[in-house]
Amino acid sequence: MSKPLRKTEPMSTTTPSPAATIVSLPAPAVNLWRGRLMQWLREMAATILPPLITLAVILGVWQIMCMKPDAALPSPARIWSEARDLIVDPFFVAGPQDIGLGWRVLTSLQRVGIGFGLAGVTGIVVGAIIGQSMWTMRGLDPIFQILRTVPPLAWLPISLAAFRDSRPSAIFVIFITSIWPIIINTAVGIRNIPQDYRNVAAVVRLNQIEFFWKIMIPSAAPYIFTGLRIGIGLSWLAIVAAEMLTGGVGVGFFIWDAWNSSRLADIFVALAYIGLTGFVLDRIVAAVGSFATRGTQAS
């Protein structure tokens, strides 16, 4: 809308002189910056305190339940005393197989990065092709729906047989586990592009490539990122299982190794590492998604 141009005309030509003396008020006692800081701290406390309290309660109950000397599982205090080096320093190197859990997580992340990266690119392209055509969708969707329920480990023997090497096998397992939700979500996103956008594209005469970049990808982006988010979660699930069997340096093998040498405390520490890393991965994909899809929600 056009803003009406309004000339600011003075109501009267002479400035009225104040009838009473002006009393200046004292400056507010609390300064604004400090007030804002206090409010920020209060908000932070409201989000951080509840999970911390819950964690303390869980650790407390666990400690009480596993305090007996003949308990099957170690208590938090025992984990702390037995696996202290793993907890306090994630990045120590004391020998070829005696390295900090940070290094192991990074090795696993590298595998996930390759497998998930391949799955992301392939999944989006395949999903886009499938979403374009009703017949490919009808033909392939039931197969995908069945394949996506196959557990990651079930793929492992096949990929070991095909690749005859543990490293590509682990990556393949990640790839094949995480690709289905990416394909399916992308295809659904493409199919749900509103007819309006297709009409716009037709009227301005976008060609296939322009349509892909300017309409399809932005319009389907929220769906694509949902697929990627499910996919990264699944690939993190798969890596641990795959590494248990293929060996090597990753965090999955570390758990298997710790179990074989009865270091239960180490396993608990590794679980914490895995959980936190999975959480961070999920949040990263979610954050990238909400940044990339800002404004794409139709209104």
Partner: protein, 263 residues
């Protein structure tokens, strides 16, 4: 010879083995610079007719001729302003208009010229101040203005408006109608507008095309609106010609072709 000619257009939709005839023998000639409104009850196929002219829906029989050439695919020479604005929500107002400009003039104009032309069209609809806003950040009326700018910027031979003010509140609608009227006066576009608002049709049009009810809708009557331009809303309220035109359309719609609820 007419500028735009709809030549004996039939449209039959086939769905699930059953044919439903939407339009039968629609023939209409539009002169250059004319403002035509197509009015009719819901479901009479007026949007189908507009989509046929736009090239978004193929005809079953007959043809659309623009400057004596048949058109049967969408193109920038027949730009559409859609009812629900259809702006791309991930692009700014400027980029939405620029998309059409780049496609229409990518080969013939330089980058700077295309920028100037985009800004010029945003200026025409008084939206230059919101060029960096995304559609979700502006009001319904503003979105529709951007939609109009996008269509105008493609320099179409025919501007197709599909109930462009349908989703707006009464005050915004009046404001936008005045803007469209002023733009038509200034640019002299040939306009084909779908509407179901009698006042809007009489206010804006040179001719009003009244459609009978479907199925197999056709043109029931064409009314010339012999009101001089530039029309002013307030003066028209008491103008005998305006009232008579209004009367004629109302009679057509509510007496002779009363809307029968689908059973």
């Amino acid at each position: 010879m007419a500028y735009l000619k709809l030549d004996h257009i039939d449209k039959v939709f086939s769905r699930g083995g059953r044919d439903s005839e939407v339009l039968r023998d629609v023939t209409l000639s539009v002169e250059r610079g004319e403002y035509i409104s197509i009015i009719g009850h819901s479901g009479c196929g007026k949007s189908t007719l507009l989509n046929i002219v736009a090239g978004l829906t193929p005809v079953t029989r007959g043809a659309v001729l623009l400057e004596e050439r048949e058109v049967n695919a969408p193109g920038p020479d027949r730009a559409v302003v859609f009812q629900n604005h259809s702006l791309l929500p991930w692009l700014s107002a400027y980029d939405n208009v620029r998309l059409g400009v780049d496609k229409a003039f990518g080969a013939s104009r330089s980058r700077a010229e295309r920028h100037d032309w985009t800004m010029h069209n945003l200026d025409l609809v008084q939206m230059a101040h919101a060029k960096d806003k995304r559609p979700s950040e502006i009001s319904g009326g503003m979105k529709q203005r951007i939609g109009i700018a996008r269509a105008l910027a493609m320099e179409p031979k025919v501007l197709l408006l599909d109930e462009p003010f349908g989703a707006l509140d009464a005050l915004t609608r009046a404001h936008l109608q005045d803007s469209v009227m002023a733009l038509h006066q200034k640019l002299g576009n040939t306009v084909l507008m779908i509407t179901h608002d009698v006042d809007e049709a009489v206010l804006l049009s040179d001719r009003i095309v009244m459609m009978t009810n479907g199925p197999a809708a056709h043109i029931g009557e064409v009314l010339d609106v012999a009101l001089p331009r530039l029309r002013r809303r307030l003066e028209l309220a008491t103008s005998p010609v305006y009232l008579k035109c209004r009367q004629r359309v109302l009679e057509f719609l509510y007496e002779r072709h009363r809307y029968v609820e689908a059973a």
